[in-house]
Subunit: 359 residues, 2 copies
C-alpha cells in the first residue's frame, strides 16, 4: 500500500474533476465523498473509480458536468429533485443537506433524486445526519446484477441500504450494505486469482448456483442477501426491490434493467433516496444516546462464539480504518496508484503526488 | 383445515377480547389484525395466539386492557406515542392512522410507540397506507432470539421489516419479513417432526452452526438473514439492529434483551415504528403505479431458473391466499381449532362456531 496525505489526494481529485468542466464546488464534494471511501477501507468505491467510472463517462459526454440540480416537487417535509444527469456526489450531498434542513423544521424529511449517476458510498450521505443529532438514511439503485428468486436474469442492482445513527461514548452505528450477498467486484477478484467462489454467491445463465466465477460474470447473476430459497434469499430480493422502488420509481428515475439500460443507453438514470430523522422529535437525544451505548455494549460484551474474539457493531471496522488513515495517511493500493497514473497521463492531469510512505 | 365464516371468527375474537376488559373498539381492531394473518396464510400470527399470547397475558395482568394510548412528543410530521402496556394492535392501528393523517399534511410522517405488546403481523400496519396512495412502513422489535455475528447469546428479536407499496393493475408490493432467516416456530416444527434443520438456520449454545433443532431451542439462537459470515450474515444482524434502534431505542421502549426482559419482567416493553409516505409528494401517483406495474412485470416475465415456473413479487402469495379465504372461508388448522376450543372453555368464552367446511 501507498499512504498519501489526505489534502494532497483531495487537491488532485479536485483538479481531475475540474479538468472535465465540473465546478470547483462540485469537484470538492465529489473528491471528499470518494476519499471517504478510501479512508474507510471501502477502496472499491474510492479514487480507483476517478477515471474508470467518472472520467470515462465525462469524457464521452455521458455525464453533464454543469447540469443544474432542480426541485421537481416539494412539501414541508419532502423534496423530489432532478440531477439532470449531473455527477451523483454533488446531487446527493446537496439534496441530503436540504433534507436535513427540512427535518429541522418538520421533525423528519425525505428526498429523492432522479436522473443522477453513481454517487459513491451510500453511507456517506447517511452519516451527514450524525453531527446534528439526526438519523440518516440513504438508498441508491444501480445497474442490473442481481436476479430475482426463481429467475436467472440480472434485473436489479446491488442496491445498497445505508442507515447512520448517533451513539454516545461509542462510535455511531453505520449500516452500509449492498442487498446482494457480495458485490460483483468480489466475483472478479476470485476469477483473477483463479479461485472458485463459495456456493450461493452467484448463479450461472441457467439460474443454477455455481462456484465458477466466470459463469456468474458471463450471463449469470449475483444472488440477493440470503442466497437460495431455503436460506430465504427472497428476503434479500425483497430488500433490493424496496431500494429500487424508493430510489428508482418514487424518484421517477430508471429502475430494474432500465438503470444504465436499453431505453436511454447514454445516461445511467440512477436514482437516490434520502431521509433525515431528528432524534429530539421522538425523545431527548441524551437519553437516546445512552440507550444506544447500552445496546452497543450489551452486544459487544456478550459471550463470543467458539473461536471468535470480538463482536462488531456496523461501521466500527470502518471508523478504526479511518482513524488509522488520519494518522498514517490515506492508503491506496498499487492497482489504484497505477490506475490514477495511467488515467492522469491520458487525461492531462498527471498524478504527480509523492506518498508519505509505502509498505 | 377447517374453514370458517370471517364474520363469525371476528365476532368470536371480539367476545374473547372484551371478556378480558378490552373495549369493543379495541377488541374489533385486534380481531381484524389477527384474522388478517389467518386470511393471508401467516397462521403463526393469527388466532392461534388469541389465548397463548394475548389471553394468557391479560389473565395474569401483564397487559393493561384499558391502558390509554398517549402522545409523548409531536411535530407536524412525527409522533412519539406511549401504549402504556396496552394491547399492541389498537396501539399500532391508531398510531398508523394518525401517522397517515400527518403525512397528508406534511408529505411524510413517522411515528413510534413505546411500552406496547406483540402487535401481530407487521405488514398489516404498512398496508393501511395503500388505499390512500401512500407507501407504508412498519417495524417492531420482539423478544431476544437472534445472536449477533460472532456471538452466541440471543440478544435481538426476529425484528420484522414491513413495507407496502401500491401498484396499478398488479397487486401491491408487500414485504413483510423477519430479519432472522426463519422464525423460532419453524425450528419447533422440525423438532416436533424429529427432523434436522438445514445448516445455517441456527446455532447451539457455543455459537456453532447446528442441524439439531433442540440445540437451537435450548440455549442456542437463530441466525440473522444471510447466516454465517461467509454468506454475509452480519447484514441480517445489521437489519435486526436497525429495527431495534427505530422501534426500541427511538421509541424509548425496551431494546435488545430488555424486550420481555430482566429489567421489567412483567411487561414486554415492545416498541413499534411506523412511516407513511404520500406518493404525490414525489410524483404523480398514476405514473408511479404505471412504473410499479412495469417493474413487477419486468421481474415476473423474466426468464426462469432451471426447474422454476414462476417468479413472485412480495405479498403476491398472501394476496392469493386472502382471495381464496374470501371465497372459501378463513382456514384454521386442527391445532388452532383445538387451541381455541381449549382456551375458550377455560376462559369462559366457548368456541362454539360451526365451520363452513373441513378438508
Amino acid at each position: 500500500m501507498h499512504y498519501y496525505k489526505y489534502e494532497d489526494l483531495k487537491d488532485y481529485a479536485v483538479r481531475y474533476f475540474t479538468r472535465w468542466g465540473i465546478t470547483p464546488e462540485d469537484a470538492l464534494i465529489a473528491a471528499e465523498v470518494l476519499l471517504s471511501a478510501d479512508m474507510r477501507g471501502v477502496d472499491s468505491h474510492g479514487l480507483i473509480r476517478l477515471h474508470s467510472y467518472y472520467g470515462s463517462r465525462l469524457s464521452r459526454g455521458q455525464i453533464d458536468p454543469t447540469a443544474p440540480l432542480s426541485v421537481v416537487r416539494e412539501t414541508s417535509a419532502t423534496l423530489a429533485m432532478d440531477a439532470n444527469n449531473g455527477l451523483g456526489h454533488p446531487a446527493g450531498v446537496k439534496t441530503m443537506r436540504m433534507c436535513i434542513a427540512r427535518a429541522r423544521q418538520s421533525g423528519v424529511a425525505m428526498a429523492t433524486v432522479r436522473n443522477s449517476n453513481h454517487y459513491g458510498i451510500a453511507g456517506y450521505y447517511a452519516m451527514m445526519a450524525l453531527p446534528v443529532d439526526m438519523i440518516g438514511v440513504s438508498f441508491t439503485n444501480s445497474g442490473p446484477l442481481v436476479a430475482p428468486t426463481h429467475g436467472r436474469k440480472a434485473l436489479l442492482g446491488t442496491n445498497p441500504v445505508a442507515v447512520a445513527v448517533p451513539a454516545g461514548r461509542n462510535q455511531p452505528y453505520v449500516l452500509d450494505m449492498a442487498t446482494s450477498i457480495v458485490p460483483i467486484g468480489r466475483i472478479t477478484v476470485f476469477q483473477k486469482n483463479g479461485k472458485q467462489i463459495p456456493a450461493g454467491w452467484g448463479i450461472d445463465s441457467n439460474g443454477n448456483v455455481t462456484e465458477n466465477p466466470a459463469e456468474v460474470l458471463e450471463g449469470g447473476a449475483l444472488m440477493p442477501l440470503g442466497g437460495v430459497e431455503l436460506m430465504r434469499g427472497y428476503k434479500g430480493y425483497g430488500l433490493a426491490l424496496m431500494v429500487d422502488i424508493f430510489s428508482g420509481i418514487l424518484a421517477g428515475s430508471g429502475f430494474g434493467e432500465l438503470v444504465y439500460g436499453a431505453d436511454k443507453p447514454d445516461t445511467s438514470r440512477v436514482g437516490h433516496f434520502f431521509a433525515a430523522i431528528r432524534i429530539d422529535a421522538f425523545r431527548d437525544p441524551v437519553d437516546f444516546k445512552a440507550d444506544m451505548d447500552n445496546l452497543i455494549e450489551m452486544l459487544k460484551n456478550s459471550p463470543k462464539a467458539a473461536g471468535e474474539e470480538r463482536i462488531y457493531i456496523h461501521g466500527e471496522k470502518e471508523f478504526e480504518r479511518a482513524q488509522h488513515a488520519e494518522k498514517e495517511g490515506v492508503p491506496l493500493s498499487e492497482v489504484t496508484v497505477r490506475a490514477l497514473s495511467g488515467a492522469g497521463e491520458k487525461d492531462g492531469v498527471p498524478f504527480d503526488l509523492t506518498p508519505l510512505k509505502t509498505d
